[in-house]
Symmetry: C2
Subunit: 519 residues, 2 copies
């Protein structure tokens, strides 16, 4: 664990600017919170939006959602919902009244305040892959269970790449750590290896409370300071169709009560857990998500919430989930239209069904990432490292995805479309005329090194030069690169006293037995 | 040449419907002319559009374009342009007056009228890779010069895939055929192996005239019928900056005079043949393109023209061209805005810099294809099979690209976003409630086989099943698939007398020596 010990900020005037770390391996874009400047793609007419909204409302009014958490049921009953056992119904005026209390955007501030993110407000932010139980890399050459070491490596990559704005759940599930204390070890690793926004799984009270406490300690915050504004977030999935389970609701309510980021993402696979038609699947997903957001707003009006979409389709031959499909893209765009209708920040994902980091992996991932852009998504989960429908995390895929994400960030730079006199370059055109080239002009020379995006992984050599360099395909190049990055990785600095306190907390909670594993 | 001999239409009621050919290898989408239902992405404000237009007009008014073709110069001089040697200047009123004569859309009708395409009118159509001098496939394993056999194989793939709407230039340059007769052999192959819209290179009078004659013969048309509406098309590139060369202009004028499709695509590499700033590169590209369209309209008012964009950037390290970059995407979108401003159909491309059909190839190609969609492109050149900046044609890449194109065609199907009662499926949601799944519902059962796009190349198996099936990466699967398609390929039927006439024409022109090769 030598790379997680407390380090002094390096000399050289860069203190606080962790963005240049590791620049000896690759040149990357600086840390920034990109703004999505594209108008969203909107497949639905205003009437279409209204019809999906109406359907979601009828689901909530007439069919209801099951909340398998008595406390949640009680809160909703007290607020005026119609409760029938675990089934909770609420009318549309009630839903809209509470949903409207959600802020249209919110910040989340991790232990390094320079890594603060704004969810909403036109931003599109990217996070690492979360929760695969398995790992694949080119050296191992097969699918193997995740370990703490693998998990730590992904955390390092998540910290290293400036295009990764927040650190989602376990980038790979470290099954070599007992489930009762897994959250303690991984959060310790996450909070020491990264200084970016962290996530807590809502899997029972102990896990959420432990993570909130560790984030508080890592931030050097009092309890009041922690509660005052979002410092971390949770993401819950409903148990589609139309159900919220106990532990997810428990964590959700705890995070809402303390004003931490609350993201609800139904996993509505059309034809399986939702209607086979995409508009129906989207409506159901919205009903499930909105019911959780209503609960959060009742608990703490103004609680920072976002709605997520994970609506996709299945393979008609096998029933297996598919990702990055045409149907997935349109469902994401439709959800984006409805998220704007409700005034809610949106979460979607960077996903694929491919098993290895090959061509298919990238066309599916590209489709999901473009859907994120087209839908006005604010938080892109799983944006780096995801394979096999989320069952595999791969470091090669992580590096490849970061190349693509960087290109999308650059794509959002309005400077590309500069139509000032400088951008039009008429004088350079006049100077060169019909007989010459622009390499040597002052206009080119002044801009040459900054005019274009420079990739770190794409190989733009011609075939012959590429062949001389070893004929290395992209996945292999990504493999070499991730190893080099890990080799040079330096953990972000952490105050020694805080580190001490964090370690002591982990030790104490381990001694207490951690969290129950019978959920 | 056994597969190009005249065949009788197969029995079974499918006569004329070549779309199902080869369906025993893969299930593919039927032939259709997809309509791009997405609103274009518009990075420029109306003022930005005006500023780029103004710059293009100043280029035409004050700087001028060199036409290295005396006949073109004479026509432009006679129409009122200011001529100074080969430099031709024209004022903006003049430009706009002629450009406005271009039809906003036009059809091109190949020998099989069921393969007629409409360029413009909201359609997005895809063509095969054109003009790479070299070939790569997984079996050869290296870059080799193109041959007639390779070229024929790509023509078969172009015919086979319903998502390929038109057959561009030589899909690989068959350098084993002497340049003087290459156009005769390849056009013979193209017209017998495919029944889709064909292209003529504007490389001197003989080539264009020969191709027009062969297309006329293959279509069983009189000269008057051929001249009456577009039956094929040419694509010319200007010699950027600001120059049109002799043979391109010669072919351009011949095609315009006979009312065939005329597409002009400047290759304005920012920082090399155009300003390093994208808006300037776009303005220069437009000036070059518009000058050719003006010429075509003077020759034949209402001539079917489209404007192409091939504006990209170079690698800042090596000066090599790059494709599918963020700058490329924005340049394509900006050109789309200007094409709509001028009322012209737009051509762009599916391109990449990658040398092999790997992950990079697909993210770059995806970027260029999304730019085509976002820009409102009507004809997507090079959409299948392109590698190494257009220097390599690859059959594996061809098959991979067709998978992606099919997904984009399905993406444009408004049925995905059906918000009718059927699409919303409220009754199914009510029926399943919180405890069950949708697999067994009537709503699902009735739609299960048609609800979702079914890929032919994507592998959606889970890892374990994929491993049992041999752990085959996408490029390898594409390799097996292209071989199987070629194995089963059947050429579209051609009337025996027409075939005879076509052969006789080729023989005669070969005996006459073909075309000069000293251009």
């Amino acid at each position: 664990m030598t790379d997680t010990i407390t380090r002094k900020r390096r000399s050289g005037g860069r203190s606080g600017h962790a963005v240049r770390r590791g620049s000896s391996v690759i040149e990357q874009l600086p840390w920034s919170l990109p703004v999505n400047i594209d108008r969203p793609t909107e497949p639905l007419s205003p009437e279409g939006v209204q019809r999906i909204h109406d359907t979601a409302m009828v689901i909530l009014e007439e069919i209801g959602i099951e909340f398998l958490n008595p406390k949640a049921v009680q809160i909703l009953r007290d607020a005026g919902c119609i409760v029938n056992g675990e089934n909770v119904r609420m009318d549309r005026e009630f839903v809209m009244e509470w949903v409207r209390k959600t802020p249209p955007s919110f910040t989340i501030t991790p232990r390094n305040p320079e890594r603060q993110i704004t969810v909403g407000d036109g931003h599109i932010l990217f996070g690492n892959v979360s929760s695969p139980p398995s790992y694949w890399d080119m050296e191992v050459g097969r699918k193997v269970p995740g370990t703490r070491e693998m998990c730590r490596n992904f955390l390092k990559l998540s910290q290293y790449f400036n295009c990764i704005h927040f650190v989602g759940g376990y980038p790979v599930e470290p099954v070599d750590i007992h489930a009762s204390v897994r959250h303690l070890d991984v959060l310790y690793d996450k909070l020491t290896l990264t200084d970016k926004v962290a996530h807590a799984y809502s899997l029972g009270k102990e896990r959420v409370e432990d993570v909130m406490e560790m984030v508080r300690i890592a931030g050097g915050l009092s309890h009041a300071e922690f509660d005052a504004s979002p410092r971390m977030y949770t993401n819950i999935n409903s148990t589609s169709p139309l159900k919220h389970d106990y532990p997810m609701m428990d964590g959700w309510m705890r995070c809402a009560a303390r004003g931490q980021g609350c993201i609800v993402t139904p996993f509505t696979l059309a034809g399986a857990m939702a209607p086979v038609t995409m508009a129906g699947a989207v409506a159901q997903s919205l009903a499930e998500g909105l019911s959780a957001i209503v609960l959060a707003q009742i608990i703490r009006p103004g609680a920072p919430c976002a709605i997520g979409t994970f609506t996709s389709n299945v393979d008609m031959k096998s029933g297996a989930p598919a990702f990055g499909t045409p149907e997935y893209m349109r469902a994401t765009q439709m959800t984006g239209q409805l998220a704007r209708f409700y005034g809610l920040p949106l979460r979607s994902s960077g996903v694929c069904a491919a098993n290895v980091p090959d061509a298919q992996a990238m066309w599916e991932t590209e489709h999901s990432l473009w859907a994120a852009i087209q839908s006005g998504t604010n938080m892109v989960y799983h944006a780096a490292g995801w394979l096999e429908g989320g069952l595999i995390a791969s470091p090669e895929k992580f590096v490849m995805d970061c190349e693509v994400i960087q290109q999308m960030i650059r794509y959002m730079d309005p400077a590309i479309c500069d139509v000032s006199d400088d951008g039009l370059g008429l004088e350079a055109i006049r100077e060169v005329g019909s007989n010459g080239h622009f390499f040597g002009t002052k206009h080119t020379q002044e801009r040459y090194t900054t005019a274009f995006y420079q990739p770190f992984l794409s190989d733009w050599k011609n075939y012959e030069a590429w062949e001389v360099a070893g004929s290395v395909w992209t996945a292999e190049r990504a493999h070499v690169m991730y190893k080099a990055i890990l080799e040079e990785f330096e953990a972000p600095p952490m105050d020694a006293a805080i580190h001490e306190e964090l370690l002591a907390f982990v030790e104490r909670r381990k001694a207490e037995g951690g969290a129950p594993t019978d959920f």
